[in-house]
Symmetry: C2
Subunit: 273 residues, 2 copies
């Protein structure tokens, strides 16, 4: 990977990079198109990173489709697919961790201890192998995006981080590889996530700026679906991921919900008028 990247850079080509865990859907492909439009060469990585899964999480059953992924990337004109093995990523004696300590508190960081250390460690490794000029991430994993932005500034990585808005199914469900886990009933119930975000945006447009009130509205929508179990619903500063009391500048509403054995996340911008 690095030999190719060094050659490409020496040839003056700008490298765009999209790290993924595979089982690619239209959300991923939107990231790929963004990277392709911004850079001369596009690298996509597929690596289901064990470090970012906690005990009891879905590492073993995480969906995979290597052949399908490859065909999709070829159709998009992706030049390089980087899919390292677990052994090559975490060989004997591996013992290094990269941690972003503040932005990773709260939200998913509270419910998934160690998750973001796994993310930042693998992303640092992938960045070092691919040496991209730009890297494209989805806003779907919003806290992850804020974490990567911080990582790049703090470690002087010199990579432009590009965030791409969430891609949704026609009915509003945010695209996710984990949607494959959902039964028909669960999928129907999961629509309450995006509905609850819309409800908050509507309330904000009507002049409601108190986040406690906005969160109550979100929870009321989620409560209409008995299949849903809320992990968190929070409104946070878009950069620091610290909770805010009022929408004075733009903030992010983020939520995590369990539907059966499946954990889903979603979020939306709450833009101050």
């Amino acid at each position: 990977m690095r030999v190719w990247a060094d050659d490409a850079r020496r040839a003056g080509r700008r490298i765009g990079f999209v790290p993924t865990m595979g089982f690619l859907h239209e959300g991923h492909l939107t990231l790929v198109r963004e990277a392709r439009s911004r850079c001369d060469a596009c690298v996509v990585s597929i690596f289901v990173n064990p470090l970012q899964f906690g005990p009891g999480e879905d590492l073993d059953r995480y969906p995979r489709d290597e052949q399908g992924d490859k065909a999709k990337l070829e159709a998009e004109g992706v030049e390089v697919l980087y899919s390292p093995t677990g052994d090559s990523m975490y060989g004997a004696g591996f013992q290094t961790a990269v941690s972003v300590t503040e932005v990773t508190k709260g939200l998913c960081g509270a419910g998934r201890p160690g998750h973001f250390d796994g993310v930042t460690t693998v992303v640092a490794k992938l960045f070092n192998a691919v040496r991209p000029d730009e890297a494209v991430f989805g806003e779907k994993d919003y806290q992850q995006l804020a974490t990567i932005r911080r990582l790049v500034v703090d470690l002087d990585l010199g990579i432009a981080i590009v965030g791409v808005p969430i891609v949704r199914e026609a009915d509003g469900l945010a695209m996710s590889s984990r949607n494959a886990y959902l039964s028909e009933d669960e999928r129907e119930a999961a629509l309450a996530l995006s509905r609850s975000l819309s409800e908050a945006r509507r309330a904000l447009r009507s002049g409601e700026r108190e986040t406690a009130v906005l969160i109550d509205r979100v929870r009321a929508v989620l409560a209409t679906e008995p299949l849903l179990q809320v992990e968190y619903t929070e409104i946070v500063d878009a950069d620091s991921i610290q909770p805010v009391d009022r929408i004075d500048k733009s903030a992010r509403l983020a939520l995590a919900v369990h539907v059966g054995n499946t954990r889903l996340i979603d979020n939306t911008l709450l833009a101050a008028a």
Copy 2:
């Protein structure tokens, strides 16, 4: 720094890098010559890294000589001196840490909690800014060298790490910027460090392979100097930095000693015959 490095790499030049905390002595200059001999361009950084000093350590009085350092590097034909400010290295909101967890236990890691996290974090940042092909470190900080080797493998940094043997004064004292702290009496007492290492090598050559016995010999030499206070004397595996009971393959004898307010370290290879 990165613009220069990217241009140099695009021009096909190999970059050699020597990170330092300044107050350069012949030991540093030996590293510079090694880097110059191996690569097309040589970058030296000078940054007294606050992250790697603990509370009560000598950050505030660490010796500095910017003009002298610059003259020495110019005389050696160093192309680039990179001396970032503390503010640019650790700006508002800085919150990222790079940790190597096992090799950093024991030896200096035991007595200086947080020290190696500070080292690996700043070295990762410097590597990302300079993007060298090779980086040269002294064996004087032996655990640091082992830590950096691990860091580079674990994070896929793709940088060759070159270790250079300790450079000593004519009387055997390992060169160190901290030698500047020593009074005449302390400097005389400090000679016991290298004497004790020689004694261990002599005993090994005579067939003594039990590390407990070798360490007793070392401590006996150090005990002849009442000004010395021993922090540790250990014999460890050269890569893992784990203590070994017998010299079956090559190992490293390392010690840290306090002389008045000054902490000195030294080490030597114990090569199995």
